[in-house]
Symmetry: C2
Subunit: 316 residues, 2 copies
């Protein structure tokens, strides 16, 4: 496959992923609207967040892993797997924003903040904040149910990777919150958090899922190294952006509360900004080396190197 075909085939698959996401949401919006406008609220929150966009990094890595492993360009399984990863991410964002008390996400007010505000404005029973949080937690649970439903038709080799991804993400999230509230983190723990929250979740496991759908589980070791290195670089860049950030620029809330504390803790544990830049450079090089020494087609080796540099040197 030449570079132009790589790009066009991949764009086609990613467009199919968007259609799949929209199709699931439309079907569920129709289904629940038959029970009145109130039954539509949870799926409406999932739909708003999916439609608000985002980088779609997990579908990108999943589809890339699949094509690099020689998968046919028109298989519905890979579209389902990539869409499932985006629904899982939607769940993670909804639950994270509750944990962080975040006000903005993808440039819009967060689900919990909006529903708390509605509760306040309507003068309903109970506490506005608790209501907003309940809606966001349930909407996240629903996004996850859609993700799992999409995973149902995939080959059995894929399921254990998906299950691991979820468990690692949750433990990584917990340790992130835990180290933040304590204001203490060891370099080793900071590295594990980066591996589980970013390396594994965003890069390694989506690539492995793509390769497994294409029947090439043998690529897992190369993708493991590439993903863990790049994921750590990605998380370190996230921290550098976070430190310099204001809320207009990223569409997320600027670090409030323990989120900011976690950032400062990690930056300190990692030796400060200049040291973090050096570490990003080294990790990106190690990620590229892992694919350069694999059995992947040279066109894909170059593409994965380009993706690594874009992720490690992005500005938002």
């Amino acid at each position: 496959m030449d570079p132009a075909s790589v790009s066009s085939v991949r764009s086609g698959l990613l467009a199919a992923v968007e259609e799949r996401l929209a199709g699931v949401l439309k079907e569920e919006l129709n289904r629940w609207s038959a029970h009145g406008e109130r039954a539509v609220v949870p799926v409406g929150e999932v739909a708003s967040l999916v439609r608000a966009g985002g980088k779609r990094l997990r579908p990108l890595f999943c589809v890339s892993g699949y094509l690099a492993a020689g998968g046919a360009p028109d298989a519905p399984e890979i579209v389902d797997a990539a869409a499932a990863l985006e629904f899982l991410h939607t769940c993670a964002l909804l639950h994270d924003d509750v944990a962080d008390g975040a006000r903005l996400r993808r440039g819009l007010p967060t689900a919990h903040a909006r529903h708390a505000e509605e509760h306040r404005a309507q003068g309903w029973n109970g506490e506005p904040r608790r209501f907003g949080e309940s809606v966001a937690v349930l909407a996240g649970d629903l996004a996850l149910a859609y993700a799992d439903r999409l995973m149902a038709g995939l080959p059995p080799e894929v399921k254990p990777i998906w299950d691991e991804l979820r468990i690692e993400l949750i433990v990584g999230e917990y340790l992130d919150v835990d180290t933040a509230v304590r204001g203490e983190v060891t370099p080793e723990l900071a590295r594990w958090i980066a591996v589980w929250k970013s390396g594994s979740y965003t890069v390694r496991r989506p690539l492995e899922i793509g390769a497994a759908v294409a029947g090439r589980s043998d690529l897992a070791p190369a993708f493991e190294t590439y993903g863990e290195k790049l994921g750590e670089a990605f998380q370190l860049r996230d921290d550098l952006i976070g430190v310099a950030d204001d809320s207009e620029r990223s569409g997320k809330s600027a670090g409030h509360g323990w989120d900011a504390a976690a950032l400062r803790g990690r930056m300190a544990a990692n030796g400060g900004a200049a040291e973090v830049e050096r570490r990003i450079e080294q990790l990106t090089e190690e990620a590229c080396a892992a694919v350069r020494t694999s059995s992947l087609d040279p066109v894909w080796q170059r593409e994965f190197a380009a993706m690594a540099f874009r992720a490690a040197y992005r500005d938002r």
Copy 2:
């Protein structure tokens, strides 16, 4: 199968479910403790709640549906399915207790309350309540990941039932919270909430899953009627117990905040306590009629009738 064998085979399977739950938890506790005591916290919360007991109603219905459908008494699939239902329930309880701000569950302080208290006592960064809620939400997500992992090995006919169960439960939960904060509920909406939160989740879908594991999806219509009728009776009994309740008796918090408002709203929509008792009697009779006119073995018809009466006339 005679009644004594029904009882002894079922007890054997339910004991195997307890072993499976304990086995998953032990493996995960070991795995994460290798990363230090902090990495064990989320799985520790799942373990505490599972070990605290509970009625195990969903495993009971699942295993009963399986045996009534002629399933072999020693298949590992049914043990996995029933254990998955209990892990899903663990997730639902952890997330519900955050939504309700509940202080007690199964006679013990709730996960979010305990971690908020620890945060306060340690003087950590940020807000104690938000920390407690984050731990409980993540622990719930983890319980669900274990549930899904257990479902992976089941026949493909089972997966759509599982996915529906989850989606119905979430929408039912949302509508319960929504009607509670608004303090208004129509009889129709009250009935749907009972169907989705109890009938489907506790009775119908577990029975259907059991029957599907045994390869008898044809039993679904009988179990649908039995489950929906009994589930509504179960929810109505829950409301009557809730109204009369004090926290010592049930191990849950007495209705605070919108939980109490929801109860009062439902009781009023349902015509008051005497009317609710009449409705429970009618629903229980209809549930029994659904199994009496099915192709189930008479021993199981009688057993399901007995289970219906125990659920509809329980005192906690």
